[in-house]
Amino acid sequence: MKIDFIKNSKYFIILSLIACIVSISSILINKIDMGLEFTGGIEIELYVKNRNILKKITNELAEINDIKIENYYNNNIKIKIKKKNIDKAKQNIETILENKKKYIELISTDYIGSEISDDTIKNTIVATILAVISMIVYLSIRFQYKFAIGATITLLHDMILILGMISIMKIEFTIAALAAIFTVFGYSINDTVVIFDRVRENIKFKKKIDYIIINNSINSTLSRTLITSISTLITIIILIIICGKILFEFSIILLAGIIIGTYSSIYISTILTVNLSNYINNIKFNSKINNYFEKIKRKVRTPK
C-alpha cells in the first residue's frame, strides 16, 4: 500500500503555519508559566491533618505578599512564591509554620535563591544553543547540508508548537519540562534521520532529490516509524498513569512531542528539504538571475 504524501503537502504546510501562528500568539499573549528553578522563590507542600489548624495556617499565610496557596484534596496545601528576593517572606513563612510544627507533616520544600535561578537560565540558553549547533554540525557531516537546514527548521517548528501547547494548556515550565523538550528534540531528530537515511540510500541511484524518492522513502519507513512511535507512546502513557502528578509536565510534553515530532519528520522536514534543494538547484542554473547581476555591474561601472 503506497500513500502519496507529497500530493497533499500543501495542506499540511498550511496546517503547520496556522499552528505556528497560534502557538506564537499564545506565547506572546498568555506568556509561559515559568517554574521555580527559573524565577527563584519558594514552594512548600504540607499535610495538615486537623482541618481547623489547616484553615488557621492558610489564613496566616495569606497575609504574605505575592503568596499563592493551592488547596488540594486530603488536607494537602501547596505554598508558592515565585519571586527573586524572598528572604523576608521566607522567614515569615518559617515563623508561621514553626509554631504549629507538631501538626504539620512536611512533604517537600523547594527554595531557589536568585543566584541559582540566574545560573539556571544561563545554562538553559547555553544548552539550547549548543544542542542546535551540534545537531546542525552532525547532520551536515553525515548528510548534505540541505538536510541539515531542513531538519533544523523542522526542529524549530516542533519547538514552537510545543511551547505553544505549554502556553495554551498553562503547563508550568519546570526544569523537568525542559528535559522533556530536549528529549523530544533528540527523538524528533531520530525520526527525521531515519527517513533521511532512506532518502540518502535511494539517492545513490538517482543523483537528484525529488518528490518520487521522498515518497518512496517515507512509505518504506512508515511501518517502522509507526511501531516505534507506538512503543514509545506506550511507555509514556504508563508514566502518566502511574507516576501521575509528579512527572506530569515531563510526561505530557514527551507525549505531545513524540506525536508532533513524528508528524513533522514525515511531512515538514521532507518537504522543506526537497523545496530547498530545488530552490538551490534553480539558483545555480537560473540565467535570469545571472543577467540581473550583470546589469547591476554595468550600471555601477559607467557613471551617469
Binding site: T109, I112, N123
Partner: protein, 601 residues
C-alpha cells in the same frame, strides 16, 4: 560464550537492587572501657519497647537494623537523649544482609537520590569577598607603616568601590620609586600606576589561594558538623567558584540541620570596663578601648575591646548540666598554648567581672539600588557575666544559654568556626513518605511498560519478537548493573529515563526487523536476508542513536541534580542499546540459526 559471561555479570551486579536497604543504627563506644555494649543496648531496646529486625556486632560496633525509618529515628532520638558522651550513634541505610557475598565482589544496590529517599539538599554560597577585603586591609596597614618608615609622603589611602584600595600622591615623580619599593616588599599585591595614584589589588594567584583555602576548610568543618548530627552517608562538595553543595539523606530534624550548618558562632571572654561610666558611654562618650554590648534583657555594659580568650582557643566543648544548679551549660577545654595567658590575666583581675559574649555572623539578602546584595550582619550578646574568683585554668563551665542553644553552640565550637560566612541560596527538602511513594511508582512504571512492550513485540513480530524481548531485557540488565557499579545516584527523572530507554532501544530492533520484512519480499535465503538487513539498518541506527546521545551528553554537562541523573540514565541506556542492537543481536540470531530455529516464519 562472551554473551553468557556478560549476562551473568550483569545479573550479579543488578541483583542487589532487588533487595533494598535496611534503616540501621550504628553504635560505637568511644572509650576503652570494657562495657558490654551489646547487652546494654539489648536491655535498652526492651526497656523502650522498640522492635528491631536484627542486632549484632561487627568490629566493635553494634549494629541494629529496623523495619522502617520511623522506628529508626525514634530509637535514635531516645538513645541520644540519654546524654551519654562516651557513645556515638550514627544513622545509616545499610544494604541487606543477604548480600554479603555479592558485596564481596563489589556489587551494591544503586544509590538513591533525595527525591527517592527523602532528605535535604542545600547549596551554600561562601562569602569570600569579605575575607579577601580583610586580607587586603591587613596588608594596607603594613603598607602604611612601611611608607611612613621610608618617609614617603602620600596624601591619602582610601578604599575604592568596596574592593580595592588606592594611594593618592601629591607629586607624580614619587610614584615610580614607591612602586619599586613596594613591589619588593609585597609580592602578593599588584600595584598599578594611574595619574597621581597607585591602585592596589591582591594578585589573582593570591585571591585564588585564599578562596581555595576557605572553601576547603569550610567543607571540612561542615562535614564534621554533619557527623555530629549522626548522619554518616552525607555528601559535602564544592560546586563552581564559591559554592558548596550539601546533601543529607534521611534526616528528620531539618531546621536543626540548617541552623547548625550555616552558623558562624563563637564565644569570647572579655573583661568589663569598670573604670568608665556606662551611662556616659550611652550618651555618646565611648572610651577608646571599649565597646557597648547588651545582654539578654537589653541592659548595656561597657566591655574592653581586647578579649581575654577567643573561640579559636577552645579545643573541646560539650553540652551538659552544671553540678550546682542543674542549668544547661557548656563544658569548655582550652588550648594548652593559651592557658598561660588566660591564667595570667585572670590572676591579675581577681574580683573583677568578666563577660562571656556570644558572637554570631550571618548573611541576609538586602535590596540596595535595585540590586540584591549579600550583607553580613552580626549578633553580639552577653550570655553571662561571671566574677573571676580565682585564676582559671584549662577546663571550666559556662552557663546562660538554653538547652538547645548550649547543644548547638557546643557542636559549633567543637567542629570549629567557619572561616567565612555562608548563606543558603538553594534548599530542597523531600519528606520520607514522598520518597517512598516515588520509588514505588517508578518501579511500577518500569515493570508495566516493560511487560506491555514485551507483549506487543511478541504479538507483532512473533519469533523475531522473542529475540527483541531477550535483547531488551539484556539491555536493561546491563543498564542497571552499569549504574550500580558506577555509583550514579538514581532520581525520579532517572527512572523516567529508564522507561524512555525501553521505548527508544526497541526502535533500533524495529529498524532491523522492518528491513528484514522488506528483504523477505526479494529473496528467500535466510542468511542473505539477515546480513543485508543488518548492513542497511546499521547506518540508521548509528545516526539516530548518536543524535539522541548528543542531546543526552549536553543535558548531562549543563544540567544539575535530577536532570543530570535523567541525562545520565538516558545516555547510558542509549549506549547499551546501541551495543545490544548492533552486536548482541547478531550473536543471538546466529545462535538461533545454528539451532535451526526458523525465525523468519
Amino acid at each position: 560464550m562472551i554473551i553468557l559471561l556478560l549476562f551473568l555479570f550483569s545479573i550479579l551486579y543488578s541483583l542487589p537492587n532487588l533487595y533494598g536497604e535496611d534503616p540501621a543504627l550504628i553504635i560505637n563506644s568511644k572509650s576503652n572501657k570494657n562495657i558490654n555494649l551489646l547487652d546494654n543496648i539489648k536491655k535498652k531496646l526492651d526497656f523502650y519497647n522498640i522492635e528491631c529486625k536484627s542486632i549484632y556486632t561487627n568490629n566493635d560496633k553494634v549494629i541494629i537494623r529496623f523495619k522502617s525509618t520511623n522506628i529508626q529515628f525514634e530509637c535514635f532520638n531516645l538513645f541520644k537523649n540519654e546524654q551519654n558522651n562516651e557513645i556515638s550513634y550514627f544513622l545509616n541505610m545499610l544494604p541487606s544482609n543477604k548480600l554479603y557475598y555479592l558485596n564481596k565482589i563489589g556489587s551494591y544496590p544503586m544509590k538513591l537520590g533525595l527525591d527517592l529517599r527523602g532528605g535535604i539538599h542545600i547549596t551554600l554560597k561562601v562569602n569570600i569577598k569579605n575575607k579577601i577585603k580583610n586580607e587586603l586591609k591587613g596588608k594596607i596597614k603594613n603598607l602604611e607603616y612601611i611608607l611612613k618608615n621610608k618617609n614617603i609622603k602620600y596624601k591619602d589611602i582610601r578604599e575604592l568601590n568596596n574592593k580595592n584600595f588606592e594611594v593618592i600622591f601629591e607629586h607624580v615623580k614619587d610614584i615610580e620609586n614607591t612602586i619599586d619599593i613596594l613591589k619588593n616588599k609585597f609580592k602578593e599585591i599588584n600595584f598599578i600606576k594611574n595619574k597621581n595614584f597607585i591602585k592596589i589589588t591582591l594578585k589573582r594567584v593570591k585571591k585564588l589561594e585564599i578562596r581555595n583555602n576557605i572553601i576547603n576548610q569550610t567543607i571540612l568543618i561542615l562535614s564534621n558538623r554533619i557527623n555530629e548530627l549522626g548522619i554518616s552517608d552525607s555528601i559535602v562538595k564544592r560546586v563552581g567558584k564559591d559554592r558548596i553543595a550539601i546533601e543529607i539523606p534521611g534526616i528528620q530534624d531539618l531546621d536543626r540541620a540548617k541552623r547548625i550548618l550555616g552558623k558562624t558562632a563563637t564565644l569570647s571572654f572579655m573583661l568589663i570596663d569598670t573604670k568608665h561610666s556606662i551611662n556616659r558611654a550611652i550618651r555618646g562618650k565611648i572610651p577608646k578601648n571599649s565597646k557597648i554590648y547588651y545582654d539578654k534583657n537589653n541592659n548595656p555594659f561597657l566591655i574592653k575591646k581586647k578579649s581575654v580568650l577567643d573561640g579559636d582557643s577552645i579545643v573541646y566543648a560539650s553540652s551538659g548540666f552544671d553540678e550546682q544548679f542543674n542549668k544547661p551549660c557548656i563544658n569548655i577545654k582550652i588550648n594548652t598554648d593559651k592557658i598561660k595567658n588566660f591564667e595570667k590575666i585572670t590572676r591579675k583581675n581577681i574580683g573583677k567581672p568578666m563577660a562571656i559574649i556570644y558572637k554570631e555572623n550571618y548573611i541576609i539578602n538586602k535590596k540596595v539600588d535595585n540590586k540584591i546584595i549579600n550583607k553580613e550582619e552580626k549578633i553580639r550578646k552577653i550570655i553571662n557575666i561571671a566574677t573571676i574568683m580565682s585564676s582559671l585554668s584549662s577546663n571550666f563551665q559556662i552557663t546562660g544559654l538554653s538547652i538547645q542553644e548550649s547543644k548547638d553552640t557546643a557542636i559549633i565550637l567543637r567542629s570549629g568556626n567557619l572561616p567565612a560566612t555562608v548563606s543558603i541560596i538553594e534548599e530542597k527538602i523531600v519528606g520520607p513518605t514522598l520518597g517512598e511513594k516515588n520509588v514505588k511508582n517508578g518501579m511500577y512504571s518500569i515493570l508495566v511498560s516493560l511487560l506491555l512492550i514485551i507483549i506487543f513485540m511478541f504479538y507483532y513480530y512473533k519469533k523475531l519478537g522473542l529475540i527483541a524481548n531477550i535483547i531488551l531485557i539484556f539491555n536493561l540488565l546491563l543498564l542497571t548493573s552499569l549504574m550500580s557499579i558506577i555509583g550514579i545516584v538514581l532520581t525520579l527523572p532517572g527512572l523516567a529515563g529508564i522507561v524512555l530507554t525501553i521505548g527508544i532501544s526497541i526502535d533500533s530492533n524495529i529498524l532491523i526487523f522492518e528491513r528484514i520484512k522488506e528483504e523477505k519480499k526479494d529473496t528467500l535465503i535466510t542468511e542473505y536476508i539477515i546480513s543485508k538487513s543488518f548492513k542497511n539498518a546499521h547506518n540508521s541506527i548509528i545516526d539516530a542513536n548518536c543524535t539522541t546521545l548528543l542531546i543526552g551528553i549536553i543535558l548531562f554537562l549543563l544540567g544539575s541534580g535530577p536532570i543530570k541523573g535523567f541525562a545520565f540514565t538516558l545516555s547510558i541506556g542509549i549506549i547499551t542499546s546501541m551495543y545490544c542492537s548492533l552486536f548482541l543481536i547478531k550473536n543471538v540470531i546466529e545462535l538461533a540459526l545454528i539451532k535451526n530455529i526458523k525465525i523468519l516464519k
